[in-house]
């Protein structure tokens, strides 16, 4: 038997959901451990950084790296894992483009810390203690990682071989990636893997192209329900949620998840990232949605409708701020 693959799974600025999603490959886990050994996975096993430092360079065959680069620890470990891994995979929205944590790029670090440690309603911090990077104790000085000013994606700090998007990636796609890796059947370096080659609309159970449809009122999915009795003219499928006035990112987002949110009657929030050929997911969806606004050539009328879109930047770059053209707020 050939040697087992050595696999690492690491989290940086991450929520842990990517690891949980990996467990969703369910009974395939048994097949996975037949072909692979875990050599790092802080979420479920007690490996120390020093264990990794002791590995020879290139020792890890594949490292799935989730989470963005938020602090000096994440950067240091990303660099270490790059050195120790033959193949480094940016896994999940956060590693690909900063993900949800990168929305903090719209604030200063100080404002963020103040919100987290001082003004959050449920805080109990009467001393106003803030995180420090060093602390003197009788036993000696402690050093903690430094928080960066903004959130970076993984390939801002190291060379990345493959990109697996999603928040989190769906189990079926994760398994297809593992199979491809185990079989040594990988596309050229730099490819996005575990995805489709179209947009979410392509896999969506709703249907557009009801001729001449324009949006005169935007709706929010937690306040209003889509009308499933409305049918598209083209066929008998229910009418596209965007055309019904729900902000849906589907047309600017890469396929691969089988439109799972849409199948639950929820608009797509864009977690599979920019579709092929789209450089800036947020600007692209602004273009698609803007063209549907029922302006009738009247700026005032249009402005009233556009005013109903709450927080366009936070919505359109929900997962992609770290990869957007502007990336941060000008302060």
């Amino acid at each position: 038997m050939t040697q087992k693959l050595k696999v690492g799974i690491y989290w940086a600025a991450s929520c842990g959901g990517c690891e949980i999603a990996t467990l969703e490959i369910a009974e395939n886990i048994l097949k996975f451990i037949e072909v692979a050994d875990l050599v790092l996975c802080p979420c479920i096993a007690d490996f120390k950084y020093d264990d990794v430092r002791a590995y020879p360079d290139g020792y890890i065959d594949v490292c799935f790296f989730n989470g963005g680069i938020r602090n000096s620890e994440a950067k240091e470990i990303a660099e270490l894992l790059r050195k120790k891994s033959k193949t480094l995979v940016a896994f999940g929205a956060c590693a690909n483009w900063g993900g949800i944590p990168a929305l903090a790029n719209l604030y200063t670090k100080d404002a963020m810390i103040e919100r987290s440690y001082i003004t959050t309603e449920s805080n109990d911090n009467p001393q106003g203690t803030l995180p420090q990077t060093s602390y003197k104790m009788p036993e000696g000085e402690l050093h903690l990682p430094k928080l960066f000013d903004s959130v970076h994606k993984l390939d801002d700090v190291v060379d990345v071989d493959y990109y697996v998007p999603g928040c989190p990636p769906v189990a079926k796609q994760i398994w297809s990636c593992i199979e491809a890796i185990a079989a040594g059947k990988l596309p050229p370096k730099g490819s996005v893997i575990g995805v489709g080659d179209k947009s979410v609309c392509d896999e969506c159970p709703f249907e557009k192209k009801t001729e001449g449809v324009r949006i005169s009122k935007f709706k929010r999915p937690h306040l209003e329900k889509p009308d499933l009795t409305k049918k598209a003219e083209l066929n008998n499928k229910p009418q596209c949620l965007l055309e019904q006035g729900f902000v849906c990112m589907g047309s600017a987002t890469r396929s691969g998840c089988e439109a799972q949110c849409l199948k639950a009657n929820m608009p797509c929030r864009g977690c599979y990232g920019p579709a092929e050929g789209v450089e800036d997911q947020g600007a692209k969806i602004a273009s698609a949605i803007g063209s549907l606004v029922d302006s009738q050539g009247n700026s005032e009328r249009s402005a009233e409708i556009v005013a109903q879109i709450v927080d366009p930047v936070g919505t359109f770059y929900r997962f992609g701020m770290g990869n957007s053209m502007l990336r941060v707020k000008k302060l």
Binding site: K75, L130, G290, S291
Partner: protein, 160 residues
């Protein structure tokens, strides 16, 4: 320094009205600020908000999009789409902290050479006053790991 600052303004003009209007301004020898570089598109409905973000990212201090007056678009309703797109983009630019004077949507017909002159002059003055946008500096994208010790902010009890 702002005194000598000459803003770079990108103009994206539709072929049928606004570009012809700018041509008219030229052939009529109207004098307007030399700060604008025009890109011609077939219709303002072709202007993807990505173009505008890219312009700022690559160093533009301001962007002016110009098209036919609503109702006059060569492609009938091309500019109806422009309105919604640019209004959403304006909201986004505000969230990114880009001053509203740095973006402008104007309807300029083929006969309105004077309007080109007026708009470009006015915008140049306004952007001059704001100073350079310098997005490369703003985004600090090269500056990975740039970090300072968190400071106690005004509201922080540490300062009381």
């Amino acid at each position: 320094m702002t005194q000598n600052f000459e803003p770079k303004i990108l103009g994206i003009f539709c072929n049928w009205c606004s570009y012809t209007g700018a041509d008219l301004a030229g052939t009529s020898r109207m004098k307007y600020a030399p700060n604008m570089r025009i890109v011609r598109v077939m219709c303002s409905g072709r202007v993807d908000p990505q173009f505008i973000l890219k312009a700022y990212k690559e160093g533009a201090d301001g962007v002016l999009v110009a098209g036919c007056h609503p109702g006059d678009c060569h492609y009938i309703e091309g500019n109806f789409k422009t309105i919604g797109r640019m209004q959403i983009l304006e909201k986004m630019l505000a969230q990114f902290g880009i001053e509203k004077e740095r973006f402008r949507l104007e309807w300029i017909s083929a006969a309105e050479g004077d309007r080109v002159m007026h708009v470009v002059n006015e915008m140049t003055t306004q952007v001059k006053k704001l100073g350079p946008l310098n997005w490369k500096e703003v985004s600090r994208s090269k500056d990975i790991g740039h970090c300072e010790e968190p400071k106690a902010t005004k509201q922080s009890p540490l300062n009381k």
